[in-house]
């Protein structure tokens, strides 16, 4: 099962995603929670804590830094740069935009 949660800002996407992920994990499914927001905070809703969420390294940053040479498959990337969240959910952040960058339209 692969689910994408979408909607307007503030409508509850992240909270819904986190509750779904933990519910699936509790029912025995191995569950990957993928934070695709460029301002990622799914970790907070999963119960990982604010500080741990802030310190997560995004897969994009890891690949840009050359880690792809060491972790060549998606599973490897999740192993190396994902973290374990409560109820055994595996969490990975896709990308984070948090510094001034050249404009794009």
């Amino acid at each position: 099962m692969k689910i994408a949660v979408v909607g307007k800002g503030g409508s509850g996407k992240t909270t819904t995603s986190a509750v779904l992920a933990r519910t699936f994990a509790r029912s025995g499914a191995s569950t990957l929670a993928l934070d695709c927001d460029s301002n990622p905070n799914l970790g907070i809703s999963l119960g990982l804590g604010e500080d741990a969420t802030e310190q997560l390294v995004s897969v994009r940053d890891a690949v840009d830094a050359g880690e792809q040479e060491h972790a060549s498959t998606p599973d490897d990337l999740l192993e190396r740069f994902g973290v374990d969240a409560p109820d055994g959910v595996r969490l990975a952040v896709v990308t984070a935009i948090q510094n001034p960058q050249p404009g794009c339209p």
Binding site: K8, G9, G10, S11, T14, D37, S38, N39, N41, I44, S45, E50, T53, E54, A96, I97, Q98, N99, P100, Q101, P102, G103, C104, P105
Partner: protein, 252 residues
């Protein structure tokens, strides 16, 4: 005054920005409100119809640049002229220009995107104030969509996700135009909430807006709180924000 509102999705940017723009116009300033969110938002708080107050396709022309198709405002159309021709006017006299809104998966807004960008490069100058409302999160703010802003106002709720977003957006001080970055503590229930926002974002707090059920009720009606309940506590708080920023600009 040139201001850009940023913050986490749902923090209250559009509600505060629209009310701010209208109250600023009420002090006698000529105000341009800019909405660069491809989803509707600012029109509600400005009290105008959910229309496409955007640039029509005919305002944008394409041309060849390095073998690729690029876009610019049509020949002879300046950014200022585009604002005067295509911005909607609110009942308070605010000029309102928005990015063309998404019309489903097959709709291309490439021309509107580029056209809007070119307007940002050539905004009306002397005698105008600009109040911009950016989409939630960090993407547009850090990709220079708020490059007109001398001041970024980061709208922050006293919740961990909103505080984390505010902390990230504090990095806007590193933008090329060296903007001032201040926080607005929103949906505040007790004085300690505003202190928490200052402490956890590292930003100076321009002012606080209380949690206000009148705002939620106006949202449910799809109307501006300023029209439904002009004496609401949140409206009074935004009026104080306008005054606070005006007095900062005068003393700067």
């Amino acid at each position: 005054m040139r201001v850009g509102f940023v913050g986490k999705g749902g923090a209250g940017k559009s509600s505060v920005a629209g009310t701010f723009a209208r109250l600023l116009a009420g002090t006698g300033e000529r105000v341009l409100a800019l909405d660069s969110d491809p989803m509707p938002g600012l029109a509600f708080s400005l009290g105008v119809d959910q229309s496409d107050a955007g640039l029509p396709d005919s305002a944008v022309e394409d041309y060849e640049h390095d073998g690729r198709t690029a876009y610019r405002l049509r020949s002879g159309l300046s950014g200022t002229a585009a604002v005067e021709q295509y911005a909607a006017r609110t009942r308070d006299g605010v000029y309102f220009l928005q990015l063309g809104k998404a019309h489903g998966p097959r709709w291309s807004n490439t021309r509107q995107h580029f056209g809007f960008q070119r307007v940002l490069d050539d905004l009306p100058g002397d005698g105008w104030s600009v109040v911009g409302d950016l989409p939630g999160g960090t993407r547009q703010p850090f990709l220079t969509w708020g490059r007109y802003a001398a001041t970024f106002l980061v709208v922050v709720e006293p919740t961990p996700a909103s505080l984390l977003t505010g902390r990230r957006l504090a990095g806007l001080t590193g933008m090329p135009q060296s903007p001032r970055v201040l926080a607005i503590a929103n949906k505040v229930r007790e004085p300690a909430d505003a202190e928490l926002v200052a402490e956890r974002t590292g930003l100076e707090v321009l002012g606080a807006v209380p949690y206000d059920p009148a705002l939620g009720e106006a949202d449910r009606l799809g109307r501006a709180v300023l029209d439904v309940d002009p004496d609401a506590p949140s409206v009074a708080a935004v009026r104080s924000l306008v005054q606070a920023l005006q007095s900062r600009e005068e003393s700067a």
